[in-house]
């Protein structure tokens, strides 16, 4: 009888009540070629070590919960197939650039604050009464911002961004892309309001277009593009206001 194929996962552990520093622990589990890294973690937790702590939910790449560092790359563990590494082992660590609470769980409160800071909702100067009906939008108008609406808040882009790694005050790719999603929405009138956050040094200007955020994004939001286009728009408006002060934005 042939031996069952196995694969080894090396997983970062950190238990603040007893560890001063994070460590790594290796687990060897049965391997099937349809397994993803999340399946491996679930196997470990179910049959080997119930103390392993990590986030996951939908297991199909839409909730954004299971982002971790897999072999050095920020990845959704539900979308990362073991067969891409087999027979080599896989190293699983918490998402980079975030403080670690426990094992593979990171503190996302900074990210949540930044999403909130750009006011991700339709801002109106003049509200239509209910009797006025819906705000109508053509397919072409939807197309303008649609790509930027696909973000699942998985934070892989923040883990990939060296600017965020160096300066945690940086607003970050997802927040800026989300701001652009609303700025480009024909129903929205809040561009100037959001500019108060976007046009700060810690906003769009800290970005140096490394581009890794767009490389790791599982939903092809292309936050790098959103940021550069915001820089261009902000600059063009600045020059317009300077050189043609009679035109209102």
């Amino acid at each position: 009888m042939a031996a069952e194929p196995t694969i080894t996962l090396t997983v970062a552990r950190f238990r603040p009540e007893k560890d001063a520093e994070p460590t790594h622990q290796s687990y060897t589990i049965p391997y099937r070629d349809d397994m993803v890294v999340l399946d491996a973690l679930n196997y470990i937790k179910s049959y080997i070590d119930g103390s392993l702590t990590y986030r996951w939910s939908c297991r199909m790449g839409i909730c954004g919960s299971c982002g971790m560092t897999v072999n050095g790359t920020p990845t959704l563990t539900c979308a990362s197939f073991l067969r891409d590494f087999y027979p080599n082992g896989v190293t699983v660590e918490p998402l980079a650039n975030f403080p670690v609470i426990r094992d593979l769980v990171i503190d996302m409160s900074d990210f949540m604050h930044k999403l909130n800071a750009i006011q991700p909702w339709i801002i109106r100067e003049d509200e239509k009464p209910l009797s006025g009906g819906e705000y109508l939008q053509t397919p072409a108008q939807l197309e303008e911002f649609h790509q930027y609406s696909l973000c699942i808040n998985c934070m892989l882009c923040y883990a990939a961004c060296p600017v965020y790694g160096m300066e945690p005050e940086f607003l970050g790719p997802a927040a800026i892309a989300l701001a652009r999603r609303y700025n480009l929405d024909s129903r929205d009138q809040g561009s100037m309001t959001r500019l108060q956050v976007l046009a700060t040094s810690e906003g769009i200007w800290d970005c140096t277009f490394v581009g890794e955020c767009s490389v790791v994004c599982p939903k092809h939001v292309d936050p790098a593009k959103a940021i550069q286009q915001t820089k261009l728009d902000t600059t063009m408006n600045w020059y317009k206001r300077l050189l043609l002060p009679w035109t209102r934005r």
């Binding site: 060296p162 160096m166 040094s201 600059t235």
Partner: protein
Amino acid sequence: MAHEHGEVDELEPLWWGLFAAGGGLTAMFTPAHILLQNVLGAIGLPVATSSYERTRHLTANPIVRLYLLALTSLSLFHWAHRFRYYLMDFGVSGGRRAIAAACYGSAILGTLGALVTLLRLPGGKA
């Protein structure tokens, strides 16, 4: 370019605009200059800038001088903006205002130097 935390940076669009313009201009023109003037020209190809007479004649043209001013000045502003953030990639976190002043200040000084140099070029007649 006041660096108050969380405040809108009023001057940053100016620097970014210069950076982008400089990046575009140098991307289009600089490699051809270096290839002809400083590589092929240095090993014997008869390029204009290797010859005193030809260079005087070419730079007598005010359009050429304007082009050279744009190319050199924007090269400096492109460097200044990029370099200022490059330092942060190496972990330099403090002194942002001082670093920005030093970088853009150098670019401004360099531009003034370029202006003086190009204005004082001798005319075409030897």
